[in-house]
Symmetry: C2
Subunit: 391 residues, 2 copies
């Protein structure tokens, strides 16, 4: 038995523990008394168009038949065309692989790109599961700590890329910080990876986790990672943009100009087979053909962002202003964020300490909750601020 | 990049190649002129109850919310109760893990149980992908050739189990042979694995791939593998019994008496995380709660079995009489089954050579086709038999 798996299975995950605690607490004192900011599960309603597309898909007699492993050609085409329209990416149907959510796509990338002894560079703060995907594939996750504004330290990134590095993993907009990678950072990352690729005589890829791509508040869209660097593998999920987190569907894209593209495609498809992913669920694939490029009404998250960020800042909390996603990253007023998270429980506030995100001393607040929950939570945040004399 | 993956991705798979050839040929001369026995995709209609359950599930506002990683409690409970009712298994909700089809379940088992250097024993003939799941997890697949009647050679199995063996993989009813493992073979396998477990001081598991469990022709049900041996991990899929192969949903079960059960459960759940399986698709989970234990009308397959087996036997083909699943295993009249498959193409017959199933000299005919296709194919089979002077 793989002992690292057994060990992981036994480790308590802060986030899940907090959610479990929250559920128990809600049963005890009433759901409206607990302010649960622990879970990044979208609350914007699924668009009516998506419901209709699903009902329509259910009328197809062939809807449960297996699709090709790469996905339904019509869906791959719709994705390529949508990306081309929005980002001018020049992709074709063959450049898109439908996968079971961004997690499935990331795991397939990790298993393909990493041999034991290989390294992948992750930019802290990062989504907890990246380490599991990387180490599960036999690789080592090399963490690069962020600058104080939670943007990546690109000099440190350049230093972290070595002969062992197979890819760098970025996430924009970022979970847990809400930061977006600006155009100039992408250019610099591309320079670093191109130079490394030349030095090593093989591509160093950029795996780009983009489930929050459409959740952007201050600009129309995020700078396109794939356009900045030809060896990018974007991993997308429809979970957040269409509020379908239970359905496990997304895609990988691969530039026609990607290095070692044929080997990479062969490797990705074999990894998907070896991991037991035959294909993404057929019903969802059929339904999404007509929904690509659409989003749920995301204005809820902007309203929440504005309310939570401004209110908490005014109370003296040190917050990163979220540019995207639906997380507020707040500095813990004491070194031990876990202890601060425990203290917040007294006020029925559930905040995830940042330790699982590759950085200490911060807390993540998932604000994908009804706006009213935030409003009702403000007195609790104020009381907590007073206890810690934040101003 | 993992070079074994790249290599696998480049190998041509006989089955898929044949299907692709068939599709091209159908476009060329008309679908009714090609007799395609290449693909094990169910053709019995999805039961109306399942369609209704899906439409009902689509009315739940929470249907797309993430389920717990182990699956929806109501579905796990329904599965446990169904198994208990049919097989007297004594399982509880906690003993069932919902996974994305039998392939997902098998891959998760392989990744959990195998460290590099470990071995898994497979009984030929076996489903092509077993080798990919085992080697993808870093293990080695040790093949045990069958007896002439396609039943496992249990003395050879006993000899193949060594200190390196982590599990034996069985498949009943079998793809590609249609054979069912009788009660007394299960008892003998249990003795072998129990003795090995005592010798090595740790469990040697029995992974039991059971997607065809309900496709049984001569008895009411297959002998229950799990009841014969406490360290069995059954992997089930709803793909074949409910004709839902595109939807990727099934389950693993774990006996309360399984050895190292807690470590195994922790390992399986961590493997599912590391491979990027967050959970099975939520809509299908909700829909299946009310459909567990139900099957499509499988009488089509019995009719096809009877017609194809008796007709081909009468023409002089040497066939294994299928007891279950929807495959007929036919001995190649020449040593090179690939060459015979090519010769069959002249008569527009698409038959899969057995080389990919861990045995040479046989052909697999998937008879999950309209009965009329079989009827219309008989003259072609007769002409092929005459060419090879089968009688």
């Amino acid at each position: 038995m793989k002992q690292n798996y057994v060990a992981w299975g036994r480790v308590k995950n802060c986030m899940r523990e907090l959610t479990a605690y929250g559920n128990a607490r809600k049963a005890e004192i009433g759901a409206d008394k607990v302010f649960d900011f622990s879970l990044g599960s979208p609350s914007a309603p699924v668009p009516e168009t998506v419901w209709e597309a699903m009902r329509r898909a259910l009328e197809r007699p062939d809807v449960h038949e297996p699709t090709p492993p790469e996905g339904l050609p019509a869906l791959r085409k719709a994705v390529a065309e949508d990306l081309n329209r929005r980002y001018g990416t020049g992709l074709s149907t063959e450049d898109i692989l439908i996968v079971t959510g961004a997690a499935g796509g990331l795991a397939i990338c990790c298993q393909t790109l990493l041999q034991p002894g290989d390294e992948a560079v992750v930019l802290a703060p990062y989504f907890t599961e990246y380490r599991v995907f990387i180490e599960g594939a036999g690789g080592t996750a090399v963490e690069v700590p962020p600058l104080p504004d939670m943007q990546p330290d690109l000099d440190a990134l350049a230093a972290a890329v070595t002969e062992k590095t197979r890819f760098v993993l970025v996430n924009t907009p970022n979970n847990p910080s809400g930061a977006i990678l600006p155009e100039e950072s992408l250019r610099r990352i591309a320079e670093i990876l191109r130079a490394a690729g030349e030095r090593f005589g093989r591509p160093v890829y950029l795996v780009s986790d983009e489930p929050y791509r459409e959740l952007v508040y201050d600009t129309e869209r995020i700078p396109c990672v794939m356009n900045a660097f030809e060896n990018t593998i974007p991993c997308y999920s429809f979970s957040k943009s269409l509020s379908l987190p239970g359905e496990r569907i997304g895609y990988l894209a691969l530039s026609p100009a990607a290095g070692d593209r044929d080997a990479l495609l062969a490797g990705l498809s074999a990894a998907a087979r070896a991991l037991g992913y035959r294909s993404a669920p057929s019903l969802m694939q059929h339904a999404l053909v007509d929904c690509v490029g659409m989003t749920a009404d995301l204005s809820l998250y902007r309203e929440n962002r504005d309310l939570l960020y401004s209110s908490l800042s005014a109370m003296g909390y040190d917050c990163v202003r979220p540019e995207g996603a639906f997380y507020l990253f707040v500095k813990s007023p004491i070194d031990d964020a876990k202890a601060f998270s425990d203290a917040a429980k007294k006020y029925e506030l559930l905040l995830v300490p940042s330790d699982d995100f590759g950085i200490t001393g911060w807390l993540r607040l998932a604000y994908c909750v009804p706006t009213d929950t935030i409003r009702r939570a403000l007195p609790a945040f104020r009381a907590l601020a007073e206890e810690y004399a934040l101003r």
